[in-house]
């Protein structure tokens, strides 16, 4: 094109950097605060450069726990969050790929009814049925358990739909070919379909891991014991209503630790992340 592209390009660079600064500033501030002395922060005189308490604060946060407010060290919470996120991601992928396989590659009575029963769950997040779900989890003895944390969040159709869509694009010839080779439904699934679905599964895993890791309302209700808390719930319990009692460096270190795993996943597996995001939202 023929316009003064030089100037336009500078403007574009500048706007993008301003955007990045706005996006990054709160996180930078949290990191800086996590390396400083609590007294300086509480006085409102914190420096904008990292301080010298990095090792001290993070050691305390991970293994000891903040003195007044939380009774569990963040290490335990990170483990709980990890177990929950992995169970949600792997559980959802496992049950979804099986049911999508049945719906696409088998003919059986009420096939479409089954599809619709699953499909409708796509629409309603757990937040709209939170107390009835809580009651059922309580009746089933699932409070303060990993299955209680994960199972209600597995009940949704996104992954099933994605696998269904993908399976529809698998050419009929593949199935016929493996049939000629004498493969039954199990062999076809294991040797043909699973290898073909690998990228889809990975993309889905990335999205579901972040989704699971960042859950908040459900873990808040279903966990009462401190040693079952996830990190998202733990953070809120660290903020005491009267500011003076809140140990801000520990809170900020916890926030940094809470966002580190999912943010790393996004950055390191960016291609899979983008693919997963675009495909699950379609």
């Amino acid at each position: 094109m023929v316009e003064n592209e030089g100037l336009q390009r500078y403007v574009a660079h500048a706007i993008l950097w301003i955007g990045i600064a706005i996006v990054a500033f709160p996180v930078y501030l949290a990191f800086v605060a996590s390396t400083q002395d609590n007294a300086a922060i509480a006085n409102g005189h914190m420096s904008l450069l990292p301080g010298g308490h990095f090792i001290e604060t993070y050691y305390k946060t991970l293994f000891v726990g903040s003195s007044g407010t939380t009774r569990e060290p963040v290490g335990t919470m990170l483990l709980n969050s990890l177990i929950m996120a992995l169970s949600i991601a792997l559980g959802k992928i496992a049950i979804s790929i099986l049911s999508a396989y049945a719906i696409v590659f088998f003919r059986f009575p009420f096939r479409m009814t089954v599809f619709w029963i699953i499909f409708i769950t796509l629409m309603l997040p757990v937040e709209v049925r939170i107390y009835p779900t809580y009651k059922i989890a309580a009746d089933l003895n699932l409070l303060d358990s990993y299955s209680g944390l994960a199972l209600p969040l597995i009940a949704s159709a996104t992954a099933t739909l994605l696998f269904r869509q993908f399976f529809m694009t698998v050419p009929d010839e593949l199935l016929e070919a493996s049939r000629i080779d004498g493969a039954g439904p199990f062999r076809f699934f294991k040797d043909t379909l699973l290898p073909l679905s690998r990228t889809n599964m990975a993309a889905l895993f990335v999205i579901l891991f972040i989704y699971g890791w960042n859950q908040y309302l459900w873990p808040l209700l279903i966990t009462t014991r401190d040693d079952m808390q996830t990190i998202q719930v733990g953070i809120r319990k660290m903020i005491v209503t009267s500011d003076a009692l809140t140990e801000w460096p520990v809170v900020m270190a916890t926030s940094i630790l809470a966002m580190l795993p999912p943010v790393l996943v996004v950055i390191v597996m960016q291609k899979l992340f983008v693919r997963g995001l675009v495909e699950t939202e379609k």
Binding site: M1, E3, Q8, V11, A12, I15, L16, G19, V23, P26, V27, L29, A30, I41, A42, G44, M46, I95, A102, F106, R107, F108, R111, I117, I118, M123, L124, P125, V128, P132, T133, I136, L140, L151, A155, A157, D172, E176, P185, I210, N214, Y216, L217, Q232, V233, I235, R236, I239, D243, W248, M252, S255, A258, M259, V263, V266, I267, F273, V274, V278
Partner: protein
């Protein structure tokens, strides 16, 4: 759509479907059914007896000024969050769509906040804007603004909107960028040759061609503002001061915590379900039709 070539087995498909069906029935249909059932029941204060009262709970709810205020507030929040986040993201995406050096670095640096959980977003923002120790609060006070979101309801609402919009920028950016990249470059070049300036090109070509993305994102952002803001509100304001940041989901939560009226809480859940189903239906319509003018 049907496959031509399939397996036949009487029991295998049921076995494959069983795990998902069990999870969905137990943790989705059962609680959703319970919510609908309870919304038609009235329980006495001791939980000893229940009466079927038809739409009594709904009538009471809709006549309740607190509930009405919460509905209005939620929609205002949703509109403000969607508008601010979408416009910021669109501006960034248009810039990132230009042939610049280091574009993949920009993209990476702009999309990672997607992974920051809502309660963490709340903590980050309350730390910056806490009236006594927040760094930005000092600045606001220095320019003469009496900043105290813990007491001033409007300021609290603004804080929630800003923090929520901040988190959603990365998601919107990603989808806008994808939308922009799918617009053929030749269209722009043709308009440039016709002498249309960049700003005019944006409003007459790019923006109309982006409408499917925009509609899709509006629905997603509204759903986000309804549900995912819970964690942000709970860590920043807990619905206060004086309910100034109590959205519909937050109200369901805090009414339920107080443990009082089961029927009303169930009716609130059912109304929320209705709203989500309506939004999803709208989305399917628009996404299916690929709105372009």
């Amino acid at each position: 759509m049907q496959k031509q070539s399939v397996f036949t087995s009487r029991w295998l498909p049921w076995l494959l479907i069983a795990p998902q069906m069990i999870v969905v029935l137990v943790f989705f249909y059962w609680p959703a059914g319970q919510a609908v059932r309870q919304s038609f029941l009235l329980q006495d204060a001791f939980g000893l007896s229940t009466v079927f009262v038809w739409f009594e709970n709904y009538k009471e709810l809709l006549a309740d000024p607190d509930y009405f205020a919460s509905v209005m507030r939620t929609f205002v929040f949703a509109a403000a969050i969607a508008l601010s986040s979408l416009s910021a993201a669109l501006l960034l995406a248009v810039m990132a769509d230009k042939p610049l050096r280091g574009i993949s670095v920009y993209r990476t640096l702009l999309i990672w906040p997607y992974a920051v959980a809502p309660p963490v977003v709340g903590v980050l923002w309350i730390f910056m804007l806490n009236p006594s120790l927040g760094i930005l609060s000092h600045g606001l006070r220095a320019i003469g603004i009496d900043w105290n979101p813990l007491l001033d309801g409007n300021q609290a609402a603004l804080l929630i909107i800003l923090a929520s919009a901040w988190k959603q920028i990365s998601y919107n950016f990603l989808f806008f960028l994808a939308g922009l990249q799918s617009i053929p470059k030749s269209v722009h070049e043709a308009a440039a040759i016709d002498g249309a300036r960049p700003v005019r090109r944006f409003w007459t070509i790019t923006f109309p061609l982006l409408t499917p993305t925009i509609f899709f994102l509006i629905v997603i952002n509204v759903v986000y503002a309804f549900f995912d803001t819970f964690g942000i509100i709970d860590t920043m304001t807990r619905g206060g001061p004086a309910k100034a940041t109590e959205t519909l989901v937050y109200k369901v939560y805090s009414d339920g915590l107080l443990g009082g009226n089961l029927g009303s809480s169930a009716a609130q859940s059912v109304i929320l379900m209705g709203i989500v189903i309506a939004l999803t239906a709208i989305q399917f319509r628009f996404v299916e039709r690929k709105v372009t003018y």
